[in-house]
């Protein structure tokens, strides 16, 4: 008994506690406050075991959850942002990019690839919100457009998983024009009659929500996701009123008819493949 007390006692000294526990082992749910063991959380697709709050995913985690193991092959690598505006706020834009690259170990805010989703050969684009808020500049717009054109060229269905604050301010009007570019490409995909599933995850707002993200043949909102054109803070400042509870959350969007369904993370992959199973019939004479 004494030895047990001796062992535990030092950990109770204030300030020492954090040192002895490896960082990131315990994670507090921002929704219900429950302390979760990180391994349990990861095994549960980063969904709170207590309240089903959906934690944000990195693009790597999303790809792992959504695609058949080992099937993802990345496309259109090696595109680097330029700084046409020579934009400087508290930091230079070029430095922001460098910081985002080293933080995320990604090239840009979107990753594109070809993969299998329960056996369906698919072109997949996945945003990473940790890369400058998943914002869309020239590179993101170009990669999304290439993905759409690749889908048309290869006759593949398209899935885009959005998580983005919108157009990237630091590239100014170049970012704005990516909305037109990507949407125009979707016009072509539409004419090619290839299916496009848009998965809107937390958060999808601004110029991304007002272009390709809302233009899916079917729009799937991930449970709890914030989705909207204007951010809640901007709306609040404009109308000078409190916003209703649940405003711009996935459940608000389905209620107002903006998305086809709200799906929890566990059901996402099977929903995508079920939709493809339904409409991508091998021998459809009506398509001839």
């Amino acid at each position: 008994m004494t030895s047990w007390f001796k062992r535990i006692a030092p950990k109770l000294i204030p300030g020492e506690k954090k040192k002895n526990i490896p960082a990131g082992v315990w994670i507090k749910c921002p929704e219900c406050g429950e302390t979760l063991y990180s391994k349990d959380l990861e095994n549960n697709l980063k969904v709170c075991l207590n309240c089903t709050y959906h934690f944000r995913l990195t693009s790597e985690e999303r790809i792992a959850q959504l695609t058949d193991h080992g099937s993802f092959h990345e496309l259109f690598r090696g595109l680097t942002a330029q700084d046409p505006l020579k934009f400087v706020d508290s930091k230079k834009y070029k430095d922001r990019i460098k910081a985002a690259v080293s933080k995320t170990e990604l090239e840009e805010a979107v990753t594109v690839g070809r993969c299998l989703i329960n056996g369906h050969d698919t072109c997949l684009c996945v945003f990473n919100f940790r890369f400058m808020g998943g914002s869309m500049g020239s590179v993101v717009g170009e990669k999304i457009t290439r993905a759409i054109e690749y889908s048309i060229d290869q006759g593949l269905p398209l899935v885009i998983v959005s998580a983005s604050g919108g157009a990237r301010m630091q590239e100014g009007v170049f970012s704005l024009m990516q909305m037109a570019k990507t949407s125009a490409a979707l016009n072509r995909l539409d004419k090619a009659r290839l299916p496009y599933i848009s998965i809107l995850t937390d958060p999808t707002t601004g110029g991304v929500s007002a272009s390709f993200a809302i233009l899916g043949d079917i729009n799937i909102a991930e449970k709890g996701a914030l989705i909207g054109f204007a951010g809640p803070r901007v709306i609040q400042q404009t109308i000078k009123q409190d916003l209703p509870k649940g405003f711009q959350r996935a459940e608000f969007l389905i209620e107002h008819g903006a998305v086809d369904m709200v799906v929890s993370r566990k059901e996402l992959k099977s929903m995508v493949s079920r939709f493809f199973d339904m409409i991508l019939q091998k021998e459809n004479k009506l398509l001839a």
Partner: protein
């Protein structure tokens, strides 16, 4: 009278000239030399001021309440305007106006943002900031034009799509995005003109054209300088700083090859002589239309696609 800061020294000189002229008239003193000198000075000042306007001064000009608006163009430069209303789903949004008209005998579908000049008008027009039904009305009219193979003219002048609860409930994102996608597919010439403010997605939703033209003192931006300042500097009063960074003047955009042409304004801005500004605009619309009219529907769609397809600045590793 609405006077901008940089206009004050010019106006001061001009009123001095007026005063001297009155003096000459009333007191019968010969002041011709002095008047001539001052007139020369005033002209020179006006020219140097107006050729060195900062991005912030251009922002103020682009928002000037006496600039020509969509309905001014329609009234002064078109004939037989038949205004059409409503999105057939929710309501008629007065912050976007549209209908068929003729310009020098050629039929056009014209659709544009409409701001107000005073409080009453602005309440009606919602300061030119559309709700989803405005964009859906615009789309409905453009589809009609496409169906009857009538060229489309869009007039852009908005701070942005309205950020409000109703706008979100009715799908602001969807309304804008669908316009972007559908405009890419119309088999008729589309000419887009930034009249004053080209604010973000709310402007672009009328902006997918074969030709995109801007007035000399107009702006076209991904976000308002105020919005940019409040996000990046956490301080809306840094708008001037943001306006420098955003590089959104007509001259910047022509340099970036994002727009095709600049429509010249009368010295000091269109509000000094709206009629003259509108006349230049009409001439430029017609000359652009004549070039586009040579293309087939398929060629127009392809050219429009390629125009937007090539926009973007990046480096690709070989």
């Amino acid at each position: 009278m609405f006077v901008l800061e940089f206009e004050k020294p010019i106006l001061a000189l001009k009123s001095k000239i007026e005063e001297l002229k009155r003096l000459q008239e009333d007191e019968k003193i010969v002041l011709t030399e002095e008047i001539k000198k001052l007139e020369k000075k005033s002209k020179e000042l006006e020219i140097t001021t107006c050729s060195n306007l900062s991005s912030w001064e251009k922002t103020q000009l682009s928002r000037h309440p006496l600039r020509p608006f969509s309905l001014d163009f329609i009234e002064k430069c078109t004939e037989g305007f038949i205004e059409l209303h409503g999105d057939r789903q929710f309501r008629d949004d007065p912050s976007i106006v549209g209908g068929f008209c003729k310009i020098e005998g050629i039929s056009f579908l014209v659709v544009g943002h409409q701001k107000g000049r005073n409080t009453t008008e602005n309440l009606k027009r919602n300061f030119g900031m559309p709700h989803p039904e405005g964009y859906r009305k615009a789309l409905r009219l453009m589809k009609l034009a496409n169906k009857f193979r009538i060229p489309i003219l869009t007039l852009i002048d908005t701070a942005g799509a309205y950020p409000g609860i109703g706008a979100e409930e009715r799908g602001q994102s969807d309304a804008i995005a669908v316009n972007l996608r559908e405009m890419a597919g119309f088999a008729v010439p589309i000419i887009c003109i930034i009249m004053g403010e080209g604010g973000s997605g709310g402007a672009l939703a009328l902006g997918v054209g074969n030709r995109v033209l801007m007035f000399e003192h107009s702006i076209y931006s991904v976000i308002t300088p105020e919005g940019c300042a409040s996000i990046l500097w956490r301080d809306g009063s840094m708008a001037r700083e943001a306006s420098k960074n955003l590089k959104y003047t007509a001259q910047d955009l022509l340099g970036f090859k994002i727009i095709d042409q600049i429509i010249p304004e009368p010295l000091g801005g269109s509000h000094n002589d709206p009629q003259k500004a509108l006349y230049s605009m009409k001439e430029i619309i017609l000359s652009n239309y004549k070039e586009l009219a040579k293309l087939s529907g398929t060629e127009l769609i392809e050219a429009r696609y390629q125009k937007f397809r090539q926009i973007g600045e990046f480096v690709e590793a070989s």
